[in-house]
């Protein structure tokens, strides 16, 4: 049972344009969400996060939007740069109930930004 889903295995965008990566979750107990970026031969690197009490969090070119009623979040990258080309993982966590330490990841989306 996959509780965090990234339905697009890959996404290709032109440099300078917006990249939008999507993530859906099924567990309503999740209350904290994170995006990680992963380059080949490296571990995932934390990018940005959002708590369920917010619907938007912004950090430079990266913005994460959370729609709790739809159990959906998205990561916007504006403007996209070739160095953003990587696999992006959506992850979720719940803060209580004995499961508040582990991260549950989606399968990832490969973003390719073309010059």
């Amino acid at each position: 049972d996959q509780q965090v889903k990234q339905n697009s295995p890959s996404l290709s965008v032109q440099e300078g344009r917006i990249s939008i990566l999507n993530c859906d979750y099924t567990n309503s107990m999740f209350d904290y969400f994170l995006w990680y970026k992963k380059y080949p031969a490296e571990g995932p690197t934390f990018l940005i996060s959002i708590s369920s009490i917010k619907d938007k969090n912004e950090d430079g070119r990266f913005t994460v939007f959370l729609n709790k009623s739809a159990k959906h979040l998205s990561l916007h990258i504006v403007p996209s740069q070739p160095g953003d080309s990587a696999v992006y993982f959506c992850a979720a966590r719940r803060s209580s109930g004995g499961s508040n330490y582990k991260l549950t990841f989606g399968k990832g989306t490969l973003l390719t930004v073309n010059p």
């Binding site: 965090v4 031969a41 571990g43 690197t45 330490y101 549950t104 990841f105 989606g106 399968k107």
Partner: protein, 113 residues
């Protein structure tokens, strides 16, 4: 400041063997989590160690065990290796104070033949 380090980088074992993977957390971190990432999948939580004890465990069999040392470093042991254990094993560290953010190491690529 060194980040999370893992050793070895790559490892090849045969079915039935045992393997030990090692992780040193980021400076100032006291909590270590282990994840398994199979090809084409996202990382899956194996377990987390804090204060030298297993604090939480994912859906992995008892063949997977771990240990945390007083200096917060950690080991992951896998017994009776199966072909399906072939994966990238990731270690992540965090501090009890800021556990929302987990910092990952580069991983150990385990191949079971």
């Amino acid at each position: 400041d060194a980040g999370v380090t893992q050793s070895p980088t790559h490892l090849i074992k045969t079915r039935g063997q045992q393997v030990t993977l090692r992780c040193s957390p980021k400076s100032g971190h006291d909590t270590v989590s282990w994840y398994q990432q199979a090809l084409g999948q996202g990382p899956q939580f194996i377990f987390q160690y804090y204060e030298e004890e297993e604090r939480q465990r994912g859906n992995f069999p008892d063949r997977f065990s771990g240990h945390q040392f007083p200096n917060y470093s950690s080991e992951l042991n896998v017994n009776a290796l199966l072909l399906g254990d072939s994966a990238l094993y990731l270690c992540a560290s965090s501090s009890a104070a800021t556990y929302n953010e987990q910092f990952f190491g580069p991983g150990t690529r385990l191949t079971v033949l």
